[in-house]
């Protein structure tokens, strides 16, 4: 009896020994190739089909163009956020930087005209780089640091704008044209986001810099030991987040012609994070695809429209929004039974 028992346990042990690596291999294949690339697109298309069936006029009436144009600032912020998430950090200040950029743009377009967007982009990139420098060299948790700088940027925006809406006084035509003119009925601001996404994809996929960033997100200690320049790459990721935030600020001005410290832009932080996550970015770092983030942003812009189309009360929108964020991340997240989730 005992002999048979010990034999079976032996076999059991052997099969499990075999089974574990095989299963792990399967999972990793599934994770990299399959769901992560297609998931965000499937979700967007599924919601879109539901909307199209319930309100056929939406697709015919240029609804897609509306979604694309309203998603432009979210997309730009989400791309920056995705780059920071990829190195295993988070940037809670990027929407505030974007808003500050929009206010600076509205203030400076009159006096310095064409130079203004350049100044704004330089400034926002520098703001992001400062975040990155502190995170990399003082070795503080990015969550707490960017929460702190979020407060600082918010206050600067309030003071710079004098707590009121700032309108573009003159020379606004060039910027406004970004929203007015477009390709395939979709404003240039959205295509700007797509262009940034493609460039970031190339950066991440084919360059040493991008591979290094992903390596930091996957295992920072290993990256340090492999002579990856972790500190400069982290600074670069945060600087890119600031740069994207500056572009989002430009998109806001192009769309609205004005910026207010409490208006469009101040509520973009959480939708942008949601867009990055729905777009398949891992919150713990090392997994990102800027191209699917585009669909993440489109999904975020589609949810409010979809809820109204399905006939859900406008008041329930944020409820649905919250539930969708949880559900989508729960569906697309790669998880491992033994892993610890914080």
């Amino acid at each position: 009896m005992t002999k048979i028992e010990s034999e079976t346990t032996k076999i059991d042990r052997e099969t499990t020994k075999l089974a574990v690596p095989v299963r792990a291999k399967f999972q990793s294949v599934k994770r990299i190739g399959g769901w992560h690339a297609i998931g965000p697109i499937v979700i967007f298309v599924a919601i879109l089909v539901v909307v199209a069936i319930l309100t056929p006029a939406f697709i015919g009436g240029g609804g897609l163009a509306i979604i694309a144009s309203s998603s432009a600032p979210i997309l730009l912020l989400a791309l920056g956020q995705a780059m920071v998430l990829n190195v295993g950090s988070i940037d809670l200040s990027n929407a505030a930087i974007g808003l500050l950029g929009a206010i600076l743009l509205a203030l400076t377009l009159g006096p310095v005209a064409g130079l203004s967007p350049l100044i704004v982009l330089l400034a926002t990139t520098a703001f992001g780089a400062v975040n990155g420098l502190i995170v990399a060299y003082a070795q503080v948790p990015s969550f707490a640091l960017t929460l702190g700088t979020l407060g600082i940027f918010q206050a600067v925006a309030l003071v710079a704008s004098g707590r009121t809406t700032v309108y573009v006084s003159s020379n606004g035509e060039g910027i406004h044209a970004l929203y007015e003119s477009g390709i395939a009925n979709v404003p240039l601001t959205f295509w700007m986001g797509v262009l940034v996404a493609v460039s970031l994809w190339v950066l991440l996929r084919y360059t040493r810099i991008g591979r290094g960033m992903t390596a930091i997100g996957k295992n920072e200690s290993a990256a340090i030991f492999s002579a990856v320049r972790t500190r400069s790459l982290k600074v670069l990721a945060f600087a890119l987040s600031g740069f994207c935030a500056g572009l989002a600020g430009i998109a806001i001005i192009a769309q609205a012609g004005s910026a207010s410290p409490t208006g469009l832009g101040s509520d973009l932080l959480l939708p942008a994070i949601a867009a990055a996550l729905i777009g398949g970015t891992s919150i713990s770092g090392g997994v990102v695809n800027p191209l699917t983030v585009i669909f993440g942003a489109l999904t975020v812009a589609l949810v409010p429209i979809a809820t109204t189309a399905v006939g859900i009360d406008a008041q329930a929108q944020s409820l649905v929004y919250g539930a969708v964020i949880i559900a989508v991340v729960a569906l697309t997240m790669s998880r491992n039974k033994a892993s610890i989730v914080k």
Binding site: G88, S89, I134, V135, A138, Q139, V140, P141, S142, F143, A144, L145, L147, G148, T149, L150, G151, I152, Q154, A155, V156, L158, V159, R163, E220, S221, I224, L270, I273, A274, L277, I283, S284, G285, D313, Q315, A316, Q317, S318, L319, V320, Y321, G322, A323, V324, I325, I326, V329, A330, M333, R335, S339, I340, V341, K342
Partner: protein, 349 residues
């Protein structure tokens, strides 16, 4: 002597005296470090109080003192829950949503200007029940589905706000009509505002839970190493759900008190609380990674931020600068705390 005798008895015969001395030095240093951080916070508080009382004679009056205590009561209550969650190594962003949902439920079930039912004390029970459901839902999704707490509670923030907005509907804003409750939070009994007494009770219970209950001890252990907790057979799953439930209950209590203080029901009753609570926990010295910190430190953090904001307003600084001050202090605190531990190979997320 005894040590020497013991080491001689051991089979290998290694002299462990040096190791023991080293251990006791490390222990003493750790004890000193545990004291030094709260002490430096207390000193910062003292400096602030001295500076502000020199700048404005209204600062050091009894009425302003009571004012500061009333202002700090709600953040204190919410921060106790937030500390527990952060000690797990997780984060609770749903604070403002839970506050809104609970506050709206409570006022609609109490005597208010919209009429409707007046359930009296049952309104408290049902409203806190809503908070409990939201908290347990967060906890279950976090533990069972393994969705990071950042996302779960971010979603739950919106869900709470959605519930509050639906309850608010399109009617007139519900005004509190119970004369006994109006202004209850800032009324003084035994020298302190009522809401502060509630906060003191919550802080006391929180410390008790953390120090001497299984939930509290396992919470700290999970923050240190969940792998070890699990392999030791401790109930990590249940404790995590319980901590999120407690945090949501405290947010809910804060939401009801904020509604009483505001006199009106509003879905955004909790707006801005998250930006006080999380910086306060971090400034207090609780590690965002979990396992290290405590409730009393958070209390110091909340006081530091409230006194600073109160003092700045009394000194005539525009309120636009408030968030910058909170932010700058947060940045300074974390840089200060991390500076001595800098190491090329250290990983800070």
């Amino acid at each position: 002597m005894v040590h020497n005798a013991l080491s001689k008895q051991s089979a290998v015969g290694i002299d462990t005296t040096a190791i023991r001395i080293r251990e006791s030095v490390i222990e003493r240093r750790a004890r000193f470090r545990g004291l030094a951080e709260p002490l430096s916070l207390l000193m910062a508080l003292a400096v602030l109080i001295v500076v502000f009382s020199l700048l404005n004679e209204r600062f050091l009056t009894t009425s302003n003192f009571q004012n500061v205590l009333t202002q700090s009561a709600i953040p204190l209550i919410v921060a106790v829950g937030a500390t527990l969650v952060i000690l797990l190594g997780s984060i609770d962003l749903s604070v403002e949503g839970v506050m809104g949902a609970t506050g709206m439920t409570w006022i609609l079930l109490s005597a208010n200007s919209r009429g409707g039912v007046d359930l009296g004390p049952w309104a408290w029970v049902i409203a806190l029940g809503v908070a409990l459901v939201l908290g347990v839902a967060s906890g279950l999704i976090f533990t069972a589905l393994k969705v990071p707490s950042f996302i779960v509670t971010l979603g739950m923030w919106y869900v709470g706000l959605g519930i509050a907005t639906m309850l608010y509907g399109t009617d007139l804003l519900p005004r509190l009509e119970d004369e006994g409750l109006k202004g209850w939070t800032s009324r003084i009994s035994f020298g302190l505002p009522n809401s502060f007494w509630v906060a003191l009770l919550v802080i006391g219970l929180g410390i008790l839970v953390l120090r001497s209950t299984r939930i509290g001890r396992v919470t700290l252990a999970i923050g240190n190493s969940e792998t070890i907790v699990r392999s030791a057979g401790l109930p990590a799953f249940r404790v995590k759900v319980a901590v999120f439930a407690i945090a949501a209950l405290l947010s809910g209590l804060g939401g009801i008190l904020a509604t009483v203080q505001l006199d009106i029901g509003s879905p955004t009753v909790g707006s801005g609380v998250l930006f006080i609570v999380i910086p306060a926990v971090v400034i207090g010295g609780t590690h965002l990674g979990g396992g290290k910190g405590g409730i009393l430190r958070t209390v110091l953090g909340v006081f530091l931020l409230t006194i600073l904001n109160n003092g700045l307003i009394l000194s005539g600084v525009e309120s636009s600068y408030q968030s910058a001050v909170t932010g700058a202090i947060l940045v300074a605190a974390i840089v200060f705390a991390a500076w001595s531990q800098r190491d090329r190979l250290r990983v800070a997320k």
